[in-house]
């Protein structure tokens, strides 16, 4: 009996929350730093941290530093909800950043609604609530987004294909990937291509060969896959092992650049909204340098999403002024235009109605066997976001 009292008292005492630095912008981040989604969602958070550390080192914004509180949710919805609750009610953050699986969105959004704090999705797929007309509190800087990705990919396929397209699809058995591939299938039919097969693959699969077998048997000449990177690339490798020779196009997740160099396959295309580091723009050089100085665990080329998030955060906080509370930050976010310095095809512009961007740019890369390097296959194509 007494033990319970002691235990409860100890627990309460041990968990005194850290003192809040009153003299800084307080930004909360919850993301899949570890767990199955860490490959795609961990690096953006590191990139954001890199950017914020650099900002703080040069004096901060409006003379104040940024305090970034990062919590790990392992891609699990209940942990994300607990993190959000803690950041919003205890740390009193003015802005919440989320970089995790789509299953964490609903509970986190519910928490932000209760606290009336804006939510910035960075590195996590953009939900349709950020397209116009946008939800009041949700903003998204991430490259990939449902609907537009498929349209851009199918347009590229139609343009590049030299013969009538028989198209196959590969998705992961998570609802977002399935939904997007279903949409792509419809669009493909409308564009005059022949969808021949669609495979939905469960996340922790040992052997992708059975799924690849079914795909190959349907004899497509193009295959489009929109799913987490592991599914995309393993399906491709299994197909090649089975002797399929066609063209494979897939979304350029952050792992894409190094994987292109590893696979060395001229018919493996990646389409994405971020420029790859092989372009060697000044911004890329800067990021590489910063990453080396800070001794980051991830390769420098995976820092793009986080850096873009940092650019947007800087612009927002600068516009918001000081002191900034949640409402002022949100108001500032509705009116922001950020030059991505070449990391994307164009600027990120947010308005009251559009929390995604006014134009989404796409580029297609592949490994060029002749040059033995990653090369741009199709330069920036813009889609107006309506």
């Amino acid at each position: 009996m007494l033990a319970r009292v002691l235990a409860a008292a100890l627990a309460a005492a041990a968990l005194v929350c850290s003192a809040n630095a009153q003299d800084a912008y307080v930004i909360g981040v919850t993301g899949a730093l570890t767990g199955p989604a860490a490959g795609t969602n961990g690096p953006p958070i590191e990139g954001l941290r890199l950017y914020v550390d650099r900002l703080n080192a040069s004096g901060g914004i409006n003379g104040k530093k940024i305090q970034l509180t990062v919590l790990d949710d392992q891609g699990e919805p209940s942990k994300a909800a607990a993190n959000a609750k803690r950041l919003l009610t205890q740390e009193n953050v003015s802005l919440l950043v989320l970089s995790s699986l789509s299953s964490t969105f609903a509970p986190v959004i519910a928490e932000t609604r209760r606290a009336n704090v804006a939510l910035m999705l960075m590195g996590a797929v953009c939900p349709k609530e950020v397209y116009p007309p946008a939800d009041l509190l949700q903003f998204c800087t991430t490259a990939y987004a449902g609907g537009y990705d498929s349209r851009a990919t199918l347009a590229f396929i139609k343009e590049t294909a030299k013969e009538p397209v028989r198209i196959g699809f590969a998705a992961m058995a998570i609802p977002l990937s399935r939904g997007e591939i279903d949409y792509a299938e419809e669009q493909a039919k409308a564009m005059g291509m022949t969808p021949v097969d669609k495979e939905v693959i469960p996340p922790p699969t040992a052997d992708y060969t059975p799924f690849a077998t079914k795909l190959k048997d349907a004899n497509p000449n193009w295959i489009f896959s929109w799913a987490p990177w592991v599914t995309q690339v393993k399906t491709f490798e299994a197909l090649r092992r089975l002797g399929w020779e066609g063209d494979y196009i897939t979304w350029a997740h952050i792992e894409a650049e190094s994987e292109l160099a590893r696979l060395k396959d001229g018919k493996f295309y990646v389409i994405g909204a971020n420029s790859l580091f092989q372009d060697n723009l000044p911004i890329h050089k800067q990021i590489v340098e910063e990453a080396k100085k800070a001794n980051i665990r991830y390769p420098a080329e995976q820092m793009t999403e986080g850096w873009i998030g940092g650019l947007v955060l800087e612009a927002v906080l600068k516009a918001g002024g000081w002191p900034a509370d949640a409402a002022k930050v949100r108001a500032a976010m509705e009116n922001v235009k950020v030059d991505t310095q070449g990391l994307r095809g164009g600027p990120i512009e947010w308005s009251k109605e559009n929390h995604f961007r006014t134009r989404q740019y796409y580029r297609v890369y592949r490994w060029d066997p002749a040059k033995s390097a990653v090369a741009v296959t199709k330069d920036w194509v813009a889609y107006d976001v309506k």
Partner: protein
């Protein structure tokens, strides 16, 4: 079950006194102090600490039911997370499809849990030990698969969002309200478990656990008591899952992994098998453990860098602690508590009087 009195000069003169939960004056006072502390806690706690307390209460409902099944009735079950998922999904499905209020969904969750308990319990009639554990494990995967299929087919791409329960038109969202609700639920579960164990059912379960053939020979219906254990335990677990769904306002199949089952088993083992106090202590320990690790990690220099390793550290530390308890402290936290207690009670003596010499 009668316990040896801890106060001298205290004699029990009737069966009722013997069975009573609170016997001596010391026990009454400490229980009173404890209840006052629990009720006063929300007045001084931060929202984060309230959230932790609510998590502990939810965990204790689950661990109490698992303790009944595994600690007392002796049936190993690796399907705990599946039962929690079943309760949560019942609430989610009923809410989404029929907009049912909580006084329908909670009993429905209990009913679904009971039904699943029969299914999970049927193998126990033929199998024992390892094979029973494996069959419950397999059933867990089937339940999770069905939940995932429901989510996918009905288009709940990011999980099912549930509105907070309404009582007389007022939504229950305040953290303090939830604290008291969950405290009440945990206390109710504890009382139910205590009473079950004091009664015929508890005695039958203990007999089952010790020697099944002898129990059968004594006339205890082995099959019916085994199934009863599964049904009661599963119903309670499903209710825990349902409350969890309402508390988080959200249901998704990823939250119910095998690791969750292992955490509950750890609660039972670390707490101490065969003791309800053990279930509670284990629940507190396992729920608070990740936060303690986090505080410890953040206290080290270079804290924020290590934040990305937190999950792995948690896993490793959790596994290590489990192994240490299993190897060196098989009686669990309750064993440690009892040792501490006997040290003070018996002082200045070191050992209890030898068996056969009362007094």
């Amino acid at each position: 079950m009668s316990r040896s009195p801890r106060a001298s000069g205290y004699f029990r003169t009737s069966y009722d006194q013997d069975l009573a939960l609170v016997q001596t004056r010391l026990e009454r006072t400490s229980l009173g102090v404890f209840i006052v502390a629990l009720l006063a806690f929300p007045l001084i706690a931060s929202p984060f600490q309230l959230d932790l307390a609510c998590q502990v209460f939810l965990a204790s409902i689950g661990s109490l039911s698992l303790m009944l099944l595994t600690g007392y009735a002796g049936q190993i079950s690796l399907g705990h997370a599946g039962l929690l998922a079943a309760g949560a999904f019942t609430v989610g499905i009923l809410f989404r499809e029929a907009n049912a209020p909580f006084w329908i969904t909670l009993p429905a969750a209990a009913a679904v849990g009971g039904l699943l308990g029969i299914i999970f319990g049927l193998p126990s009639l033929r199998l024992r030990g390892l094979y029973l554990a494996v069959s419950t494990l397999a059933l867990h995967f089937v339940v999770i698969y069905l939940g995932g299929e429901y989510e996918a087919r009905r288009g709940f791409s990011t999980g099912i969002v549930i509105d907070p329960p309404k009582l007389g038109g007022v939504s229950i969202t305040d953290a303090r309200a939830w604290y008291f609700i969950l405290l009440g639920a945990a206390a109710a579960t504890l009382l139910v478990c205590l009473n079950l164990l004091r009664a015929r059912t508890g005695r039958a379960w203990r007999a089952l656990r010790t020697r099944e053939t002898v129990a059968e020979a004594l006339g205890i219906g082995v099959a019916s008591y085994k199934l009863l254990a599964f049904v009661i335990s599963s119903a309670a677990t499903a209710v825990a899952g349902a409350l969890f769904a309402y508390y988080r306002g959200f249901v998704s199949v990823e939250a119910f992994s095998l690791f969750l089952t292992i955490q509950y088993l750890a609660m039972v083992i670390i707490g101490g098998m065969g003791s309800l106090l053990g279930a509670l202590l284990g629940a507190i320990f396992v729920t608070l453990f990740p936060y303690i690790i986090e505080i410890g990690l953040l206290a080290l220099p270079g804290a924020q860098r290590h934040a990305s390793l937190l999950f792995a550290m948690n896993y490793a530390a959790f596994g290590l602690v489990m192994i240490l308890f299993l190897m060196f402290e098989p009686l669990g936290l309750v064993g440690m508590w009892r040792r501490m207690q006997s040290y003070f009670l018996l002082w200045p003596f070191k050992h209890r009087p030898a068996a056969g010499s009362r007094g």
